[in-house]
Structure formats: structure tokens, C-alpha cells
Subunit: 248 residues, 2 copies
């Protein structure tokens, strides 16, 4: 970490400072921006349960487990996936600091997928029933929950279309870059914490295809890749390639 000039994204979303953390979390709007007084804020904060650290490969929840709480990723990266009867994984998503895991479990009251830590992960866990109850008293919190849920409905579209391998990978890089940038990390130097296989699986490509496309993008001087560290050299070129997928 310290050998890099720019603050890479391996850092946690906070520096141990509670308020700073909240400002990068998906609930920050509800916590900070709505001008609520102490009692409501206190009510939300009292729900928070800091859990972790989880280490690489640690299971955070399993498919079929009873759903009781959602969690904001405070530091590290979480991978969610399902696995079929043959044990083949299907990666559903990667969750970066500030993002919320567990929202897709509300419907059946069970987790519909597994979640594991890709590196050292810290979470802020919220009891969902308590949060929902609180949301009836703090409209801003209810709004935020509705928005987070609504947002996730569209997100899956990234991997839905029938785009070329190049478009998918470009979109993945730009999307990841934007998400990091939103939390104050570098937009052009990314530490991608997942293996090529996970990346490929998420994008519904073969690992070999990912390798080849990354090679091509490097030959074109659009990115540079050194193991898990990606540098986006021509952000706009990449963005153009990703355009059909991201639509913005």
C-alpha cells in the first residue's frame, strides 16, 4: 500500500473515525444529510454492529441461511455467488467499501447466495427488522432503502446484454472505477481484489478470454496491468468501449 504514490483502494472506507466512515457508507444520506436530530440518528447508530475482520476466503453468509440483517462493507471486498449441484460457482457481484450486501435476501427471508471475503473485510451489520421499523419513523431512511433496492434491480443489467468480451471488460473496469471514485479512491489506479477466474466468471467469459482482452487493451496502451493492479491510461477510450453496456 504505502509503496504506491496514490491512495489505492485497499484502504478501508474510514480511518477509524466513525463520522468519516459514515460519509462513505450507503446510508450516509440517511445518517447525515437529512438534518435529523440526535434521537433518530442515535437510533440508527445504535443498530450498527461492527463485525470482522473476515479474512480471505472466510464465509460471510451461506445460501439458504436465515436472513436477519443487511451489512455495509466497511473495508475490503465481498464476493457473492451461487453454486449449482456440480459445485460450479456463478459469481453474482463484488461489493466494495460503502456498498450494501444482503438486500436480495429480503424477499424469501433466506440468503439466495453465498458471500465470501476476497481480502480482509470489515462490516457494519444492521438488523433488518429493526431497520425497517426505524424506517417507518425516519422517512429519509425508508427512502434510502427503497433507493438502494431499486438501484440494485438495474445493476444486474451490466451482465445481462449480449455484449462482446471487450465491451464487458471495459464496462467492468469503468464501473469499478466509478464506484471507487464515488468513495474517494483513485479512479484510474485500481486494485482489483479478485482473481482472473472470478472476474471472468462474473462477466460470463472464460478466464482465457479475459487474459486475451486485457493483453489487447495493454497493447493498445489503453490500460496497464500488473497482476492485480490496473491503471486506466485512456479512461475515455475505455468509457467509449463500455458505453453500450453502461449507457451513460
Amino acid at each position: 500500500m504505502s509503496k504506491h504514490a496514490v491512495r489505492l483502494n485497499r484502504a478501508s472506507a474510514d480511518d477509524g473515525d466513525e463520522l468519516r466512515f459514515c460519509s462513505t457508507c450507503a446510508f450516509s444520506d440517511a445518517c447525515l444529510s437529512q438534518g435529523y436530530g440526535k434521537p433518530e440518528l442515535e437510533a440508527l447508530h445504535v443498530l450498527v454492529e461492527h463485525v470482522g475482520p473476515y479474512h480471505e476466503g472466510d464465509v460471510i453468509f451461506r445460501e439458504g441461511e436465515d436472513f436477519k440483517s443487511i451489512a455495509a462493507v466497511r473495508a475490503g471486498t465481498v464476493k457473492t455467488f451461487v453454486s449449482d449441484s456440480n459445485g460450479n460457482e456463478q459469481v453474482l457481484g463484488f461489493f466494495l467499501p460503502g456498498e450494501i450486501i444482503g438486500l436480495n435476501a429480503i424477499h424469501h427471508n433466506k440468503f439466495p447466495c453465498h458471500a465470501v471475503a476476497l481480502d480482509t473485510v470489515m462490516l457494519c451489520r444492521f438488523s433488518f427488522p429493526k431497520m425497517a421499523l426505524l424506517a417507518t419513523k425516519i422517512p429519509g431512511l425508508q427512502d434510502q432503502l427503497f433507493k438502494l433496492l431499486s438501484q440494485d434491480i438495474g445493476k444486474a443489467a451490466l451482465l445481462a446484454g449480449d455484449y462482446s468480451a471487450e465491451q464487458r471488460i471495459a464496462a467492468f473496469l469503468i464501473s469499478t472505477s466509478r464506484r471507487y471514485a464515488e468513495r474517494g479512491f483513485s479512479a484510474t489506479q485500481l486494485l482489483m481484489p479478485m482473481t482472473r477466474a472470478d472476474m471472468a466468471n462474473y462477466l460470463r467469459l472464460a478466464p482465457e478470454t479475459v487474459s486475451r482482452v486485457l493483453r489487447r487493451l495493454q497493447d493498445l496502451k489503453i490500460i496497464s496491468v500488473d497482476r492485480r493492479v490496473f491503471v486506466l491510461l485512456q479512461y475515455d477510450a475505455l468509457e467509449r468501449m463500455a458505453m453500450p453496456v453502461l449507457r451513460s
Copy 2:
């Protein structure tokens, strides 16, 4: 319609009877099952605005329009899609009687896609702000909204995986069958109200591929197809084919 022995799904979700309608709508739990007294029920019902009929091809909402309300499909089928700069459509979903459109618009307060009627469509429209406010007073309604939103997050996975054309089509048929059956329509005789092109587009396949797979399934006596009327002759065979996609 009347020439078919079985009640095909072209029928609306109600028979003009208000209560019957509610029992097939996605809000039925909130409306009926929670044991609420008159005042809350009345509050929800007073929000309902019956709109339509829309006719085939009529636009229900456009991408970018201000989001003000969600709507339950009361009769007919709604197709949602985005279109890129070249005017190429990308079908996102088909909404059958009892299902809710507009949930993915909450996040940005604008509709992220277009919606058109595939046939004669009737809607029950609810102002979303009013509904959200009401949801703070009726916990069952809030729960229902959370569940509907959460459910839609997972739904996109149907077309996300890298499944074969056959698996996708089988999954589409089974999924449609189940959704109709849930509302009391025949599970084995389906009127598919969309063109092959829409079907193919939704499944991210070429129309030609859809034709060929349907042909093969007919040769295998697994289904029979006559124009838009599909009969599922070997439901379980189809279900087995769809298993990897549907996972249940």
C-alpha cells in the same frame, strides 16, 4: 379466446369485481391478508387510480420521464425495454397481470426504460410518494414493497448466466407458466403475447435461434406451438432443462 377449452391467460386478472382483482394483485397481501381494519385498507384503495385501456403498441411511460407512480398490471401484458443510440431495443422484461411496473425507477426518480402495451392493458396506478408515506403507517405495506423490490433484484439473473439457447427458452417458458399459474391461469397452455423477436431479444438470442429451438422442442413432443399459443406437453422435461437457470 372462447374457442379454447381452458381459460387462457388473455383474460384480465379480475372480472370487474374489485375484491377478486385485489386477490391476484401483488399488493393483495398488504390489502387483504394482514388483518388491517377499514381505515388503512381504505387509505390504500383511495390511492388506486384505474388507467387504461392501453392498446397494442401504446406507450405507458418513456425512458427519462419523471417517476411519480408505480402500477400493477390489471390485464394484458407490458413490455419494458431500453433503446440505444442506434434505436436498437433491448427488452428488459414482460409484466403479466398482478405484477408491478416502475419499481426500478425509484432510484433516480426517472424511468430508466420504456414501457409499452403488448395487447390491451389495464393498470392500477399508485402514487409512489403517497404509497411510501402510507407504508410508514402500515408496516405490512412497507414489508410488501421491500419484498417486491428485493424479488426483482434476483429476477434479472434469469438472463444473466451463460446458458444455452435451449436452457434459456425452457426457463422462459417455465417461468412464464409459473407466473400465470400463480394468478390462477393455466400452467400448461400459455398465450405468449410477444413476438418471436421480442422473445429472442429478451433472451439475448437471435429470432432464428428461437425458431430453431422451438422446432426441436416440438419434434421432441415437449411442447406444441401454434403461433402465440404454447402447450407444455412434458412440463417436467422442460423443468429439468430449465433447472440450471431457475435453480428450483
